[in-house]
Symmetry: C2
Subunit: 608 residues, 2 copies
């Protein structure tokens, strides 16, 4: 076997309770590495074009990569996939930190594939190689922060060697923006995998173990890691005095706002006057009580926070991240950082993706502003841009489908369709957009339009180059070279998410470093080009699955607002997105026709 892997997959059939060990196929690993790539391959092997999100045979896959749990920086990550996302209808996919990934591997498995629907609510425990399905109707309904310590207590394992991934009430209630949380505050947030887990009546997976896989070449690994660690430490972004550690991801608030790309009021504006009141600097000065990092991470961007008093008081929580502050803050016109801290906590506690939640609330607020929602449907809820209390209230109402929350639980696309104003949902493929206005950042707009999982920023993260000049400065207003760069970042990020390590290393490292560390771990012969090719293969396989579901170029588009409405004020005034001018070149470079890989391309990549 290649180094770095545990060597087997746990296959769980909830229909009959059968648990099977499936050995890893080395050839598949050489083509897809692990993480996102391996998960997509497992899904592709059993793909049914007509599958529905809550069908028993919608696979739910948890998968680590060769670097997960290895002695490399940021090796605390894993990937979650579903055959079909309830939010987008495309393949579902997300990536999470914490320590769940490493401890799955230390418990003896590289991946878990969940199929079927359990008769009664249950959880899965994998402890030192022994997997067990346990019926536990009494934990159904528990919040994430309640069930996590409860299961650790119940199984009697050492908390230090254990991690729990679970759903909250949102997943149980099949809400399409529900996510799976691990270690209470970490999540593969997007595409609604929590609802798929909820549909299977699987509340949690507890992993615990000691077994660390060996690397193929330890000496080489030490050398390669030392090189990467130097680069990470020296970076003004990832180093110990860097923005991510000192201010958290929210360090981006003021930077992106200054660029006129920190949208507000459901992307009606492209900057937010009160941005500084919710910046990383402000968070550090107010509610920050400590920092926290994922397993094996030298960057430590996680925030521990507390709001000691006021209407949004909370004794202890973690976060919020940049994306969350945007989504629940400026995008809802809300300036109060304490309200965002509180709403973020609710999202974690109930298992809701903060970006989709904020995008849906913002959509609802614009629907109210434009008088699309009858007063009686609101049942008293004061859904106005800037109403911090209403924003916070929307979160728990969504989790419990309570009152107007039953409408919010639809997600922004179906909500806006219900009220006959589909253009007010700011989504791509049904997924709400993240925290960069695409009008003044052309590359990220192309990523939003073409990302396989819907309106996404981290499966082709062009922001370092376009905003920060890392690894090189690209003019954000220009489309020159952007299709090329977006493709490069998409394929590199596919490789990183299959490795699996943290994308934030990309502020300091590049393909040569990733390839070097991977070679040392696995023993595969790798270099930058080979690794990028693996990434391209993964991106194409993901695209192919979506094509099988009927997706084509008609879905590779941005909301009309970004094409038809130039930015009205602020630093980026006058900008529009030029995705329509870039898309054909993007397809041509990809070897795609109408959003679909050609036979030749698939052959070239070795995809059946």
């Amino acid at each position: 076997m290649l180094g770095g892997y545990a060597g087997k997959i746990l296959d769980v059939n909830l229909e009959n309770g059968e648990l099977k060990d499936i050995p890893l196929d080395e050839e598949v690993l050489r083509m897809y590495l692990g993480g996102k790539g391996l998960g997509l391959k497992l899904i592709y092997n059993e793909l049914r074009d007509d599958i529905k999100p809550f069908d028993p045979d919608n696979l739910l896959v948890f998968v680590t990569g060769p670097a997960t749990g290895a002695k490399v920086p940021t090796s605390g990550r894993y990937h979650i996939l579903t055959s079909k996302s309830p939010l987008t209808g495309a393949v579902g996919s997300g990536n999470s930190g914490g320590k769940w990934g490493p401890f799955l591997k230390f418990a003896g498995y590289d991946a878990v594939v969940i199929r079927g629907i359990s008769d009664k609510p249950a959880y899965l425990s994998i402890i030192n190689g022994k997997a067990e399905l346990v019926e536990a109707p009494d934990i159904w309904g528990m919040t994430v922060t309640a069930v996590t310590p409860e299961l650790i207590k119940r199984t009697g394992v050492d908390p230090k060697k254990t991690s729990v991934a679970c759903i909250g009430p949102a997943g149980e209630n099949l809400i399409s923006m529900a996510c799976i949380m691990n270690d209470e505050y970490r999540t593969a947030g997007r595409t609604g995998s929590g609802a798929v887990m909820g549909s299977k009546k699987l509340k949690a997976i507890l992993v615990s173990g000691n077994e660390r896989p060996k690397s193929a070449n330890s000496d080489m690994l030490v050398e390669k890691v030392a090189e990467s660690m130097d680069l990470i430490r020296e970076s003004p972004v990832t180093g110990p005095k860097g923005g991510l550690h000192v201010y958290g991801t929210a360090v981006l608030v003021n930077i992106v706002n200054a660029h006129g790309a920190y949208s507000s009021r459901n992307f009606q504006n492209s900057c937010f006057t009160e941005a500084d009141e919710q910046s990383g600097e402000r968070l550090t000065a107010t509610y920050l009580v400590g920092t926290t990092g994922c397993w094996g991470c030298p960057i430590v961007c996680g925030r521990k926070s507390s709001v000691p008093e006021g209407p949004f008081s909370i004794r202890y929580t973690e976060g919020p991240e940049y994306e969350t502050i945007f989504a629940l803050g400026s995008n809802c016109g809300v300036k109060e950082l304490d309200a965002v801290v509180k709403a973020n906590h609710f999202c974690n506690e109930f298992g809701i993706d903060t970006i989709s939640m904020g995008g849906t609330i913002a959509c609802a607020m614009e629907l109210v502003e434009k008088e699309k929602i009858p007063e009686e449907d609101l049942q008293g809820l004061n859904l106005k841009f800037g109403d911090a209390g209403a924003m916070v209230e929307c979160v728990w109402r969504t989790a419990y489908k309570s009152g107007f929350g039953a409408d919010l639980a639809l997600g922004s696309r179906k909500l806006a369709e219900k009220y006959q104003a589909p253009e007010i949902s700011i989504n791509v493929k049904g997924m709400e957009l993240p925290a960069y206005d695409p009008r003044p950042i052309q590359g990220i707009g192309l990523e939003y339009a073409t990302a396989n999982r819907g309106g996404d920023h981290v499966y082709g993260y062009t922001i370092p180059a376009e905003i920060l000049g890392i690894p090189k400065k690209l003019d954000p207003y220009s489309i020159e070279g952007k299709p090329e760069w977006t493709i490069y970042m998409q394929d590199m990020d596919s490789a990183i998410n299959s490795t699996v390590i943290c994308l934030f290393t990309g502020f300091a490292l590049g393909l040569p470093q990733y390839a070097g560390m991977l070679e040392a771990i696995t023993g595969m012969k790798l270099d930058a080009d080979k690794l990028l090719k693996i990434g391209e293969r993964i991106t194409n396989l993901e695209r192919l699955i979506n094509n099988r579901y009927g997706f084509d170029r008609t879905e590779d588009i941005l909301p009309r607002r970004f094409i038809a409405e130039p930015v009205s004020k602020g630093p980026s005034k006058g900008q529009v997105s030029l995705v329509p001018e870039m898309i054909d070149r993007y397809y041509s470079l990809r070897g795609w026709v109408d959003g679909k890989p050609t036979e030749e391309k698939l052959k070239e990549l070795g995809i059946a």
Copy 2:
């Protein structure tokens, strides 16, 4: 048949879907009138000593009286009973206004008896004499404010002639302080009848109709009503310029606080420095947007309110009442009236008794203050006296058993027992106490201790005499004559709640007026003494049922705090409750031994 009655009871068996008409027994009406009395008799007829609250044969009874829907003032009321309350273990009982009672009668029935448990969630409709059980799993989970208009729309009836009584999520989730709401904002709040309805999977009862029962003597009724109306109009409490109409029930806040009986911080203090900030006067000056009255009511004490902005904004709601402001406000140390308005709305929306909710939150806050609850159990909730946001959060968390809400949902008695500090729950027979500190008001203390449904103030409302001097001034600090007065008020209130009209008429009317109007409606020969005897019979029957469940004098006690801890500051400094000195005289006057009616007493009253 006697005048004023529709003449029949609808008997609903949810087990097999059978609906039966049961004719009223005139002899029973002469002994128990209707409302509370008739409901108790129906329950007593089928009583099983070992019944449990969520057993199928726990009867849920909705019952009007001869005055309900008649042309008399405040005839909009009805009574709800359950064989056994999930909160107290005693017989469950509550009284509500709005217009549900009259429209049940106009639909052709005096009462509805619900037995069994439905297989699927269902609602009952009674439209112009035709009753129908309708399976409707899709309305399960809806809030009170959502399901009420939905059912009116679905059945296509005239909203003006229709009323809906229903449960919210709290009832569905079997929370022992859940109530049944009618007309969205009215409720028979106490003893957890909503949880019994939830256990039966019955979401709602819609009533609609036109059929008005005739009175026995219309001329006499016109005359008697004219006399009563004059008294109501002339009263400084119930008249058009009276406190109840101008300021709502919250007119009592400043009055009771000035007396040193407006408790705060879980009854640790007996007055509240910030009382004026949550007074009826303040409500009128801030969030009041209109007034509203129950069916047939000349007093119109209901409040329409709105909080246009701030962290507790709400576009429209009704209330809050005096009891609610105390329970969710001062008793939780919360001064912010907008937070109380919001929390009250949540209680209505989710179907929760505001008094028990506030008492339970206050208990939890004191448990935290005294360090009885481990930090990890709170999961971030900032449960401190005075934290308005935490108080509001507790309400919806209770409805959904969300996080620490699962503990709050136990009610204060079980909560305090769980954390091994039972003395911190301020309850009698498991029911949280209302808004009058019993130390400086001796009569109400005796009522709290002896009321059959637990810690109650309106089944023997001594406050008018002890605080307002109506109909005569009694020294509140003195126990002189208090057993007599408490018994008198308990029996009179039993009669009023069986009539059924509003207790607030008691600020202006007395037994002669009630007897006169009842005689004109029914044709029974009545006077003050006869009516009081009926009241006594009802009080005794209720006590007898509780005795069958095992209740005796050991349950007729106040929380230790009121006996052992004198009021520490404020106008009533130094007072303690003297219930232990009054209880034997109370029993002796009652003809009870150790809290149980003797055979002689029962015989005298004609109770089998």
